[in-house]
């Protein structure tokens, strides 16, 4: 049981990460990751939608027939995104001014429909909620890492405007890493997003390979030890 949940968590955050492993949702990804704060905001909004859509779709999985499942899933996701859009506009208005343009893009995030189809419609409610949370966190992680890399390279700051997102206590996060930095325009613009993402994907593969190799050597060492 707990093994299942560990599997879901590992899939969502790393092994089957929406961005790093599935390379999905690139449109919202590249559009908002000029800064780490924007990435964090977009990631959290997407996570909220994924949790709620996972829950609702899993709840209704008994009555939804395969023939009409796609329109029903799309309807549920679209309503959730609209609700997130409205509540952000009303209650975190400053962030909404920055991200407002991109919130409707969550609807176009194929990863949400993908999870609805491949997980929530086949699993129990709790597992689906957990899957939504983990997939969302994995996506948030990707957005924040990409946003931070682009922000440092592109404007020499980190978590600029974090206070808009999290409240004034978060202003300690706002760092100016490179004073008097002139900025590196290419990295801020969408092509820079592709470039940085490419390096991150390559980095993840290298890391995975190194880990696999280490595991393999450990395993052979163990079998050698136990055969003694």
């Amino acid at each position: 049981m707990s093994n299942d949940y560990r599997r879901i968590a590992k899939d969502g955050i790393w092994d089957n990460n929406i961005v790093f492993a599935q390379a999905l949702a690139l449109c919202p990804l590249l559009a908002v990751t000029g800064t780490a704060s924007n990435g964090l905001g977009m990631g959290l909004a997407t996570t909220a939608v994924m949790i709620a859509s996972g829950m609702l779709i899993s709840l209704f999985r008994g009555i939804i027939t395969p023939q009409v499942r796609i329109p029903v899933f799309v309807l549920i996701i679209a309503v959730l995104v609209s609700l997130v859009d409205m509540s952000m506009n009303a209650w975190v208005h400053d962030l909404h001014k920055v991200l407002g343009l991109f919130i409707p893009l969550i609807v176009t995030n194929c990863a949400i429909l993908g999870r609805a189809e491949s997980f929530a419609s086949r699993n129990r409610v709790l597992a689906s909620i957990f899957d939504g949370l983990m997939m969302g966190l994995g996506f948030t992680l990707a957005l924040v890492v990409l946003g931070a890399a682009r922000e440092i390279l592109g404007s020499g700051t980190l978590f600029a405007n974090a206070a808009l997102l999290l409240g004034n206590w978060a202003s300690f996060l706002e760092l100016e890493l490179i004073p008097d930095y002139k900025g590196f325009l290419l990295i801020i613009l969408p092509p820079g997003g592709f470039l940085v993402l490419g390096f991150l994907l390559a980095g993840k593969r290298l890391l995975d390979r190194a880990l696999a190799e280490r595991r393999a050597t450990l395993a052979t060492a163990e079998t050698a030890a136990s055969s003694h």
Binding site: T65, L75, I76, A78, S82, M86, A90, H93
Partner: protein
């Protein structure tokens, strides 16, 4: 979902229709509820935004009324309706603010401009734009104080020919790597000042005459 033991009734077309209809109804109900819950807050936020930007172009000591209370509705030369926010002291109009827009490198640049009763610029700020970050976005006051150069200017000062960027023989700086953006802004401000010239009497008419009657007169013209 989709197991072989699926009950017969679920295969009927009527079931599918009712299912889809039911979900659509539910979705609509949720959206209506969400709209009701957030409508007032969103309206309030937009009002605060407007007040914020007005406060940047019209100094507080220039008026003692509620700027948002009775905006004057005027249809401009291009047939676009425009709200003019007027600050008064007593019954005299002492400051005005309205939105202007120009064509930038990447679409429309929306600005708000504040003027005193003589048509002198009190301040101009960018409300929204889609210019290139790092190049064209220097029109934002947060990035560069270029936009403050316009303070105190009016249509005759500098003379009309100099209302252009330096590259076009005018007096305003362009940015290295971005000429189209400041050109669009200068043109928009110039048009905004021309709008004041054309509608001067109407704009300075004390608000004792209510905005409705002015709007009615404007339409009969």
């Amino acid at each position: 979902m989709g197991t072989p033991q699926e009950p017969q009734y679920r295969k009927r077309i009527g079931y599918q229709a009712v299912l889809l209809g039911g979900f659509s109804t539910l979705a609509t109900a949720l959206l209506v509820a969400g709209n009701i819950a957030t409508k007032d807050a969103i309206e309030l936020r937009h009002k605060e935004d407007l007040l914020d930007s007005l406060a940047q172009v019209v100094p507080h000591e220039r008026y003692d009324n509620d700027l948002l209370a009775h905006p004057l509705q005027i249809v401009d030369e291009n047939g676009k309706p425009l709200s003019v926010y007027r600050g008064t002291v007593g019954s005299a109009v002492n400051a005005l603010a309205y939105e202007i827009s120009g064509q930038g490198y990447a679409g429309e640049i929306r600005l708000i401009m504040g003027l005193d009763a003589e048509g002198k610029i009190l301040g101009v700020r960018v409300l929204s734009h889609a210019e290139t970050p790092g190049l064209g976005d220097k029109i934002e006051v947060a990035k560069n104080d270029w936009i403050l150069d316009f303070n105190g200017l009016s249509l005759g000062d500098p003379p009309e020919g100099e209302w252009a960027v330096k590259k076009d023989g005018g007096r305003f700086d362009q940015f290295s790597g971005a000429t189209i953006t400041p050109r669009g802004v200068v043109k928009a401000i110039k048009q905004g000042l021309a709008f004041f010239q054309i509608h001067r009497t109407e704009l300075l008419n004390p608000p004792a005459e209510t905005s409705e009657t002015v709007a009615a007169k404007d339409q009969s013209l």
